[in-house]
Every structure is written in structure tokens, then in C-alpha cells.
């Protein structure tokens, strides 16, 4: 518990995490608002079902930044003034059990991502409801999808952390994961080449959020979430194995 508190306090004191939070809050809500306002006059009921959720799928960049920064900040050298020190040496001195440290880190990332996604989902769907006024789709039946957004963000943040555990440097995982969140993602292009690509973590996980995926493979949302979770678990296991064995 104390480890978890320490990890949360480290996360909360990182400016990048707050920037990520602001991005994750503003990008989906503002773009969903623009999108919803532009379709107000037309058949909003039919078109508006995915408004907000699609944008929340892109807002996952906040979870990516969170997951990457949580790990990469431990390995960033702090410059000549502090003898090129890295935070990880202090962290492991304070928490010598690497397994415990890693569990606390993962827990803190998951918790922060869950809070971020819940706030972002509320803000985005609120903006859509505000823009569409009475034409807004009823929110009551969308609760499972909202949960899907939270699960997607949390799993993505953990995926980012797992990759950063391996690279120890934030730029590569950031570049790869953000590129792959773009409107035409690399995995989406791959799924045109081989149906197997539909089982990649982001393609599978996106089923929890949107039904409009043009792919040859049909997958219910729960299965998509499970496939993504399996990926994350596998990558975390590799990341943990490396972290437990490699010199800090």
C-alpha cells in the first residue's frame, strides 16, 4: 500500500502526466463537440451513435503518454548536476523488492488511466449531449461502451508501460504507439493485408468502443477486450521478467 502511494505520488508530480491528462480531456471533448455541432441539423440520431466514442478512441494518446512517462521518467538521466543519476536507483533503494515495486507501478498506472478515462468519457459525452441538445442519443444504454473506453485506456496505458520497460527510453514507444493511434493506423493497413492483424491489441481492443470497424474478422466486444488483455498480460510478463533480471 505504501509502495502504491509512493508510485501515485511520483505520477502526480510529473508535469507530463498532467499535460497528458489535459490532452486526454480536451482533444476528444473539443473534437467531439465540433463533430456533433456540425451534424446537428442532419439526421443526428442515426449518425450520432458513434460520436464521442470515436474521439475517445483517439484520446487514448493520453493513456499512452501516461504509461510511457511513468516508466521512462525512472530512467531519464538527470544531467551533470546530479552526476547523471537516474530516479530508478533511488526508487530501488527505497523499494528493494523489484516485484513489489513493479506491481505498485502497474497499479498506479492503471489507477491513473482509469481516472483519466472516466473524466474524459464524462466530459466528451457531456459535450456531445450539449451540442446535440435533444437530438442526443440516449446515454443509458451506452454504459457498457463507456466501461469499454475505460478498459481500453487502462490496457493501452499498461501496454505502453510494458514496452517502455523493455526500451527504457520514451521516444520509441511513444512514436510507435502514437503513430498507430492515427486516423489510418498501421495495424488497420495491416488488417487489409492479413486477417490475423485484427487480433493485434489495438484492433481487438477497439471493438469495445466502436462497432464500425471494417475488417474481415467479426469479434464481439468482450472477446476483443480479452484478446487485448492477453496481449497486455504477455507483454507485461516479458517486461517484468526483463526488469527483474536486468541491471537497473
Amino acid at each position: 500500500m505504501r509502495l502504491l502511494r509512493a508510485e501515485l505520488s511520483k505520477l502526480v508530480s510529473l508535469p507530463s502526466v498532467w499535460t497528458a491528462f489535459a490532452v486526454g480531456l480536451l482533444v476528444p471533448s473539443v473534437i467531439a463537440y465540433l463533430n456533433a455541432s456540425s451534424m446537428r441539423g442532419r439526421n443526428a440520431q442515426a449518425a450520432g451513435l458513434d460520436v464521442g466514442f470515436e474521439e475517445l478512441g483517439f484520446g487514448v494518446i493520453a493513456a499512452i503518454i501516461l504509461g510511457v512517462v511513468a516508466v521512462s521518467s525512472e530512467y531519464a538521466t538527470e544531467g551533470e548536476e546530479s552526476a547523471g543519476g537516474r530516479q530508478i536507483t533511488a526508487s530501488l533503494t527505497a523499494a528493494p523488492s523489484r516485484g513489489g515495486f513493479l506491481l505498485a507501478k502497474i497499479g498506479a498506472v492503471a489507477l491513473a488511466a482509469a481516472v483519466m478515462s472516466a473524466v474524459a468519457t464524462a466530459a466528451t459525452l457531456g459535450a456531445v449531449a450539449f451540442a446535440l441538445a435533444d437530438a442526443a442519443p440516449p446515454m443509458g444504454e451506452e454504459v457498457p461502451r463507456m466501461l469499454g473506453v475505460v478498459v481500453y485506456w487502462v490496457l493501452t496505458a499498461l501496454l505502453a508501460s510494458a514496452i517502455t520497460l523493455l526500451t527504457r527510453n520514451g521516444i520509441v514507444p511513444l512514436a510507435v504507439l502514437i503513430l498507430n493511434t492515427s486516423v489510418v493506423s498501421v495495424t488497420f493497413l495491416l488488417s487489409k493485408v492479413t486477417p490475423l492483424a485484427s487480433y493485434l491489441p489495438d484492433m481487438a481492443g477497439a471493438r469495445m468502443i466502436t462497432s464500425r470497424i471494417h475488417s474481415s474478422v467479426e469479434m464481439p466486444p468482450v472477446v476483443g477486450g480479452l484478446v487485448m488483455a492477453a496481449w497486455v498480460a504477455a507483454l507485461l510478463a516479458v517486461g517484468a521478467a526483463v526488469f527483474l533480471r536486468r541491471d537497473a
Binding site: 465540433l34 456540425s38 494518446i61 503518454i65 544531467g79 520514451g170 521516444i171 511513444l174 512514436a175 502514437i178
Partner: protein, 262 residues
């Protein structure tokens, strides 16, 4: 004696000009050497090139299988530029941030006290690395697409091909300068990369279809420089807008660099 004053002044002015040119030349050489000895620069360029070639081959293979429209090898080969720009963003960031990772900036400024000269040399050195890298990426992408597509490729006129490749190269190089300017202000790699990639790959494409002002943003305007689809602006206007963004970013980063403590 008064008669001799003017020639002496001119001589002095000419000497000062020569000294200034020498200082600029030396600064450029120093910045270029620093850039070329960074492993991260070489890794970024190599990774970008490999990814662009692989994507060009994949696009071309998909295009040949689809076969709907006889896409020209040029358009297919330049399509990966949309992804390769990430590599050039990272290149600009790495170049700018490497000074701040340790205390190198203090050594740099001890050797080159004139901050404006050092900043200009930094941008020029970045361009000298980014332009050849962009040429290699674009030309090899087009060549791979041409090889894979073979006879199925639609022909592109020589003039248009040159203009499109030049546009792609210019766009990638200007994007690297813009990224370097942003990173020079942020001074840290991860936040700079996150912000730039977030704009170029997520916010930009989302805004593109939804807001009219997006046509003037550097990523969407840049489409007019290299993409077959274009970004709503003509090629000349696109060059102007993207160059203006890069110049403005470089000016802001210069102003910040001159004033802020290193």
C-alpha cells in the same frame, strides 16, 4: 590623415565581414559534427528509411492486388511520407534536445558565445542532415513502389515527379526544423515528441475534416506539397504556409534561446 580614414574603415568593415563569415562557417561545422556524431540521429534516419521502404512495398503490393485505379508509382511511393514524417519529427527533436541532456549547452555557448549565430548554425546543420535523408527516403520509396508495381504503374510525367519529390523532401525537412524549434523551447525529448506526434498524427487529421482553419495548419497545408490528394491549398501556397510555420517556430525558439538561461 583624414583622407586615409575611409579606406581604413572599409578595410576594417571588410575584415569584420570576413571574421563574421568565418565565425558562421566554424559554427556550422561544429554543429554539423555534433549532429553527425549522435548515434540517435543515425538510428532515427535508418529506422525511418527502413520503415518508409517497407511501407512503400506494402502499399504497392496492396495497390497491385486491389488494382482498382492504376495508381502511379510516384503516388504510391510517396504515400509513406505521411508516416515517415514521424521520423523527421524525432530527428528534429533529438538534434535540439541533445544539447540539454547533460550540460553540453554550456560547453557549446562557451565555444560560441553569440547565441543567434549558434542557433542559426544549428538549424542549418539540421537542414544539411534532413534534406539528404529526405531525398533518400522519398526516392527509395518511389523506386520500391515502381519495382513492385512494375508495368501496372500509371506513368507520371517527369516534371510532376520532380515537383512531387521536391515537395515531399521540402515538407520533411521543414517539419524537422519545426520540430527542432519546438523541442528547443521545451528542452525535453519525451514531452516534445508527445506533443508533436499528437498534433501531426491525431489532432491534425481529426481537425482536417471538421474545421476550416485546419487547412492552414502545418500538417494539412503540407499535404499540398507532396500528397496526390492535396490539402486544399495549391502547391505554391502550401510551400509558403509550411515554410512560414517553420520560420515562425524558428524565430520564436531563437527569441527564447537568446533570452533564457541555458
Amino acid at each position: 590623415m583624414r583622407g586615409g580614414a575611409r579606406p581604413a574603415g572599409e578595410v576594417r568593415a571588410a575584415g569584420a565581414r570576413r571574421a563574421g563569415a568565418r565565425e558562421a562557417r566554424r559554427a556550422l561545422r561544429a554543429e554539423l559534427l555534433k549532429l553527425l556524431t549522435l548515434p540517435a540521429v543515425w538510428l532515427t534516419v535508418a529506422g525511418t528509411w527502413a520503415a518508409a521502404v517497407a511501407l512503400a512495398a506494402a502499399f504497392a503490393a496492396a495497390g497491385r492486388r486491389g488494382g482498382a485505379a492504376a495508381a502511379s508509382a510516384l503516388d504510391v511511393g510517396l504515400a509513406p511520407v505521411g508516416y515517415a514524417q514521424a521520423g523527421f519529427i524525432v530527428l528534429g527533436v533529438v538534434a535540439a534536445v541533445s544539447e540539454y541532456g547533460g550540460g553540453q549547452i554550456r560547453t557549446t555557448l562557451a565555444a560560441m558565445p553569440r547565441r543567434a549565430v549558434r542557433h542559426g548554425a544549428g538549424i542549418a546543420a539540421l537542414l544539411l542532415v534532413a534534406v539528404p535523408a529526405a531525398v533518400v527516403v522519398c526516392v527509395s520509396g518511389a523506386a520500391v513502389a515502381w519495382l513492385v508495381l512494375g508495368g501496372a504503374a500509371g506513368a507520371a510525367g517527369g516534371g510532376r515527379a520532380c515537383a512531387a519529390v521536391a515537395g515531399a523532401v521540402g515538407y520533411l525537412a521543414l517539419t524537422a526544423v519545426l520540430a527542432g524549434a519546438v523541442a528547443g523551447v521545451v528542452r525535453r525529448a519525451v514531452p516534445a515528441v508527445a506533443a508533436l506526434l499528437g498534433h501531426y498524427f491525431i489532432a491534425g487529421p481529426l481537425l482536417r475534416d471538421r474545421a476550416a482553419f485546419a487547412a492552414w495548419l502545418p500538417d494539412t497545408a503540407g499535404l499540398g506539397m507532396w500528397s496526390a490528394g492535396g490539402g486544399g491549398l495549391g502547391a505554391a501556397a502550401a510551400w509558403g504556409v509550411v515554410a512560414a510555420w517553420s520560420a515562425a517556430a524558428a524565430a520564436v525558439s531563437l527569441a527564447v534561446f537568446v533570452r533564457r538561461e541555458a
